[in-house]
Subunit: 363 residues, 2 copies
């Protein structure tokens, strides 16, 4: 039985501005009322419109490397493919009417909350630029933008400050609320009340201007309280530092998962892998590479301590940086992950896929 | 003889994040070296890649209203059509090689300067998210981001502040320079030395949090000092206020043009018209509507005081807000402008077109 539908509005780590991270997530138990949340908002209406125009039978991915288009099988594991829809699922689109613009704004109206992982532009730009659409007279909406303090503070101070963007979060307007969450505390989703959402703070590199000052990001654990099934959706993150005085936040996340979510209930982890293992370690800038991601998954395996390892856990890889290269870096990274994991006890049967823009994964 | 090539990477006023204002501008006198500047940077690499994939012979516009595609003739005046190219001109693309991603990054490498009209997100988001590409090892670049103080100050304080985006403008990195211009002063373009560029401050509505506090924006006058031909490229702007104590900035701009640029040398004005005349005046929020734009053009006509009015001046309309409506609001506004102008002495032969994404206008 499936629980979660994850539509990839954008799933790369830039530098192309039209494919940055934004996932629309829905409960598959609520086919009648289309209530949606977003994790991150790098893109938005533009990607929704593009997805509504896709031919669901043309199962290709826009690559723009060796070929302009590649078959989706190259990016998504065959065991996941049968549940993978090009564009949105029928449950999301069947209530939509009118032109593509009208359908797009109607779908946007159904987004009740954004859970933002961190305030970097490529995770918030679409959400910000789309926000005037909450005032469209025929399809108005009220939205909540949620995040840990290091996300919501900057959105208030630096974005919705009447300088970078109109202060649409002004209380007198009453349509857009910035809501501060607490790390490692369980929050009920307003849009999908049967979901509990727990944000976890993680680290994401250092400031350019002060290398000793760390940048934070978030991981969201989303649990359906009726079925106890969960997914984990990560923002950008880096491996824990060696410094014994620093908290090992990522290690603590893996412990939390192993202690609180039975492996059979962990339906998928959406996690960044920005770089191929060929990257110079000094140029990771707060991100993972394929070997570093596998290190983390070994830690998770150890925390679970199951004799059969992480079995057929689904890993959906996001935030690959699109580089100037011959081969699509998403295919390079996927190949590295599968090849390396095959040699690591307990990771052999992990199911890796790429979070390809325009597709909906059901887990 | 033509002077300026204006490629429309994005030309709407949102709320769709994938078509916000960004123009690549080139001198038609420099066919050998492809040196480019941008006015605004709402979108960027994503739109460049999309433009490189367009079939130049399929002369359609993505509308997404009554029809998903419409013929370009509906948006661009017939006298301008022959000088309007789908995608980029051959001079820009003929040096590009490799995959679409490689061609896109190579073209991006040729952008030397961004002239930003104001720091609202829909005019800077793409420029910011694309900026890590200046470090692509095989296609590195150095770029200058220029603007008036109310633009460059916020970009420093609120964007490249190591919180919303890494401080890539840090002097130690030496690849991205934020440069403050002075209003009404002539600046030489670094990329295209024969161009003089003059920024003019204009007003763009009030702050939500303080209605008495005005928001500023810019208009750029770009002049080829060899031919004396000019184009005027506007950011968002509103009509002058009635208050006699406030400077009438827009009126001063029209005076400046009439006093300094012979009408025959004024090749085009790219100007916003966010709204149809049906909009409630209280909901203009610092923008123009079609009747307000015509009021401004009448002021310009009066300043020039030519017996034949503004003759066949080319007006390229940008920043139309994409609303929830049956008809494409760009077609509604274009129709209003043409119909109304036809009845106004001296504006009868103005040549109105829409700044349609994906096309290159040569003037």
């Amino acid at each position: 039985m499936t629980d979660f539908e994850i539509s990839i509005l954008g799933g790369t780590g830039g530098p192309f501005e039209n494919s940055t991270q934004c996932f629309i997530i829905r409960s598959t138990h609520n086919d009648e009322s289309v209530r949606l949340i977003c994790v991150d908002g790098g893109v938005g209406l533009g990607s929704i419109a593009a997805m509504l125009r896709l031919d669901p039978n043309k199962r290709i991915v826009e690559s723009l490397y060796e070929n302009e288009e590649e078959p989706v099988e190259k990016y998504v594991d065959s065991t996941v493919l049968s549940q993978t829809t090009r564009g949105f699922s029928l449950a999301v689109t069947r209530h939509l009417e009118g032109s593509i613009v009208q359908q797009t704004m109607k779908l946007y109206q159904n987004i009740g909350e954004y859970y933002i992982t961190h305030p970097h532009m490529d995770h918030v730009a679409g959400m910000i630029m789309n926000s005037p659409a909450i005032y469209e007279p025929l399809v108005p909406s009220r939205k909540y933008i949620k995040g840990l303090p290091f996300t919501i503070g900057p959105l208030k101070d630096f974005i919705f400050n009447d300088i970078i963007w109109p202060q649409l979060s002004n209380k007198l307007l009453g349509r857009l609320d910035l809501v501060t969450l607490s790390s490692r505390e369980s929050h009920n989703s307003l849009s999908i009340p049967e979901w509990n959402i727990i944000p976890f703070e993680v680290y994401h590199g250092s400031k350019v201007s002060d290398l000793s000052s760390q940048v934070s990001s978030s991981v969201y654990i989303i649990t359906n309280t009726r079925t106890n099934n969960s997914i984990v959706v990560c923002g950008d993150l880096e491996k824990d530092h060696e410094d014994p005085n620093e908290p090992r936040l990522l290690c603590q996340l893996w412990s939390y998962l192993a202690n609180n979510i039975p492996l059979k209930n962990l339906k998928a982890i959406v996690i960044e892998c920005s770089n191929s293992l060929s990257i110079d370690e000094r140029r990771l800038f707060g991100h993972l590479s394929s070997n570093k991601l596998l290190d983390e998954l070994q830690t998770l395996r150890d925390k679970y301590g199951s004799s059969s390892g992480l079995r057929d856990l689904k890993i959906i890889v996001s935030h690959v940086k699109m580089t100037y290269s011959e081969k699509d870096p998403r295919l390079t990274i996927l190949d590295e992950l599968r090849t390396l994991a095959h040699e690591i006890p307990g990771l052999e049967s992990l199911i890796f896929s790429i979070a390809v823009q325009g597709y909906t994964f059901t887990v």
